[in-house]
């Protein structure tokens, strides 16, 4: 398992569009992707769960990837969040 903590910079938080973009990018990896926020584990491949977690702008989140391609998945996730998830 590998993990890294990053800060979400999307001005309106993780709403529909970025949540969908993030989840579908993670869906391509075999590893499990989990976002830890406010002490809760959220399925990083589920836009609904990500939205429901209500992750606001400026929130620190821990991304955990576990599986065959975990490092690749983590790098991709971190890069995506740091670049503002397409927004």
């Amino acid at each position: 398992m590998v993990s890294k903590t990053v800060t979400l910079t999307n001005p309106q938080g993780l709403h529909m569009r970025p949540a969908g973009t993030f989840a579908s990018a993670m869906g391509k990896f075999a590893s499990n992707v989990t976002i830890v926020t406010g002490g809760k584990d959220v399925n990083g491949k589920s836009p609904m769960a990500l939205m429901a977690a209500g992750i606001g702008c400026g929130t620190e989140i821990e991304i955990k990837c576990d599986g065959a391609d975990e490092q690749e998945a983590l790098d991709s996730a971190v890069q995506l969040v740091e670049s503002g998830i397409g927004e």
């Binding site: 309106q12 709403h15 569009r17 989840a23 491949k45 836009p47 609904m48 769960a49 209500g54 702008c57």
Partner: protein, 567 residues
């Protein structure tokens, strides 16, 4: 006559079609074969996605790309791996597809509903919409389809869901009446984008209006009149035709320069509240942005937006408006605008308290974040900085010193910006009006904020029923103040604009022409009408009218004289 929320302007006349939601009730049962039941759910889900995809594509063409994203969002939500696996788990535990779907949708509904963020809470409507869409497929029923209605139909529904609006044929639907929804709901946004008159939140609309009733929807006033008399109907028809003609006639002013009848050029720009509004402003033919309220960036966030976030928003508007001017007002917080994370103290008299430029200058490090972002954006367009609620010269000097400090920092960092960026002030207090001659020497431009200027000059809150009668731009005190500000600005050779609602007031426009106002900043939909009115007056005519009006002693007399003179 029924009353509701005026959600989309115009008068629509037609025959009511009361769209009744299909009966989606079912009897929960344990399926015999879980695998078969999962396949049944998958088939319904596929059919739902297929239909939604078609609707989204159609909507992209008929309504707009942004609105069609609501529909593609439904596919993202319905095919969510977490949602699908939750449903499959329940089916394996001997629940039928309908029940599994209901339970999982209930779960997501309550998760979204509990959110602090409006943008997340609004997803509740989408959960309900996709629930009924998939359930209709499971039960072999059709959800309401508004694509095959006869011409001149008034659609009456309990709630207009995004999937329903996707099927609306603009050519056939003359008006919309719903039982729920407000001015900011999906239904209202889409009705406005389609330019269909709409009245929302009419209690029991589906019960009190019958199929086949003749219905008049007045989306401007928010009224619905069923089965009017012949005389009433022809009056409505005349009003609707006149409104349609007037609107069509305004199109002649699209792409034309803004100038008076005798050829004096004016700048006609738009007031916007967020970067996306810049697109609407450009579509309405605005010659720039006269007021970009930067508050949205701060109010939509949970903590102070970073320099990069702010830069991105300002840059977006600058790029969208190309080389046209974009005046951005720095944070106007306090008064009635609360931003929880700034932890401002409660004040007995917030409108006369610690707000706007006062707050910013008291928090220079925080203010510099915004000023740096504005400077960086100035490399991408004609961005100007505007200070709100100025009451004395020191405030302008202090703010300009901070701008210079930021310029120095950026220069050292090798970041590009416009060295000659203009810094101007809003003139919205009697104090600023009285020292407008001195302010004009230190500012690059003025923009008169009439809403606050009237309030502070007349000492009257327009929200207070008992003193609202005093709140009028036609009051001689207010008019004299406006005249003084424009004169002082013009004497000093700086541009003077107006970004309050009065800039679009047809009665006031000739007065503003006479005073010598150079820039009119109005809401995007008012652009063409304002251009028309400006083009109807010569400076001489306006001067004659202004001379007469400035002799009058009361707001009533002024309004009466201006109404009489209106073209």
């Amino acid at each position: 006559m029924y009353e509701g929320v005026n959600a989309s302007d115009g008068i629509g006349i037609g025959i009511a079609s009361v769209a009744v939601e299909p009966d989606l009730s079912y009897t929960p049962h344990a399926p015999e074969d879980a695998e078969q039941e999962k396949a049944r759910y998958q088939a319904a889900l596929d059919a739902f996605c297929e239909k939604t995809k078609t609707q989204a594509e159609r909507m992209k063409v008929t309504v707009g790309e942004k609105e069609s994203e609501i529909m593609s969002g439904h596919i993202t939500m319905a095919t969510d791996p977490f949602m699908v696996s939750e449903i499959n788990d329940r089916i394996e535990k001997h629940e039928c597809s309908e029940q599994a779907l209901d339970e999982v949708c209930d779960m997501f509904y309550s998760m979204f509903d509990a959110s602090d963020e409006i943008i997340i809470r609004e997803r509740c409507a989408d959960v309900q919409d996709l629930r009924s869409g998939i359930k209709a497929k499971l039960l072999g029923k059709e959800v309401i389809d508004l694509s095959t209605l006869p011409v001149n139909t008034i659609v009456v529904v309990s709630d207009l869901t995004p999937s329903m609006t996707a099927t609306i044929d603009k050519e056939n639907v003359a008006g919309i009446v719903t039982e729920t929804g407000g001015r900011t709901s999906h239904s209202a946004i889409i009705a406005r984008a389609l330019e269909i008159p709409a009245v929302l939140s009419v209690p029991d609309a589906c019960k009190v209006i019958n199929n086949g009733d003749t219905v008049v929807v007045n989306g401007t006033k928010g009224t619905v009149h069923t089965n009017p008399s012949k005389a009433e109907l022809s009056a409505y028809q005349a009003a609707a035709e006149a409104a349609a003609e007037a609107k069509a006639a305004l199109e002649a002013y699209r792409g034309k320069p803004t100038c008076t009848a005798d050829g004096i050029d004016k700048l006609l720009v738009a007031n916007i509240g967020n970067p996306d509004d810049a697109t609407g402003a450009a579509e309405h033919d605005a010659e720039g942005v006269g007021l970009f309220r930067s508050e949205f960036l701060f109010m939509d966030a949970k903590e102070l937006p970073s320099e990069d976030d702010q830069f991105a928003a300002y840059q977006k508007v600058a790029l969208r408006m190309k080389d046209k001017p974009v005046i951005i007002r720095t944070l106007d917080v306090g008064g009635d605008k609360e931003i929880p994370y700034l932890n401002l103290q409660k004040e007995d008299n917030p409108f006369m308290g610690f707000r706007a430029v006062r707050y910013c200058l008291n928090n220079p490090e925080q203010y510099k974040v915004q000023l740096r972002a504005l400077l960086r954006a100035s490399a991408f367009g004609d961005v100007k900085i505007m200070l709100p609620l100025v009451t004395c010269l020191d405030e302008v000097r202090e703010a300009k010193a901070l701008v210079e400090e930021c310029k120095g920092e950026l220069r050292r960092e090798g970041v590009q910006f416009n060295e000659d960026i203009e810094v101007g002030t809003m003139i919205e207090t009697p104090a600023a009006s009285l020292i407008a001659d001195d302010l004009a020497k230190e500012c690059s431009f003025f923009s008169i904020g009439t809403n606050d200027l009237i309030g502070y000059t007349m000492c009257a809150d327009r929200g207070n029923d008992r003193v609202r009668y005093l709140y009028s731009v036609y009051n001689p005190a207010v008019l004299r103040s406006i005249q003084r500000i424009v004169t002082c600005g013009n004497d000093a050779g700086i541009m003077v604009g107006m970004c309050g609602e009065a800039a679009a007031d047809p009665l006031l426009i000739p007065m503003l022409i006479s005073f010598g106002l150079g820039e009119f900043s109005v809401s995007a939909p008012s652009i063409l009408r304002t251009r028309k009115i400006i083009s109807q007056w010569t400076k001489d005519e306006a001067d004659q009218l202004a001379w007469d009006v400035m002799q009058l002693k009361t707001a009533e007399e002024v309004q009466e004289a201006l109404t009489k003179a209106a073209k």
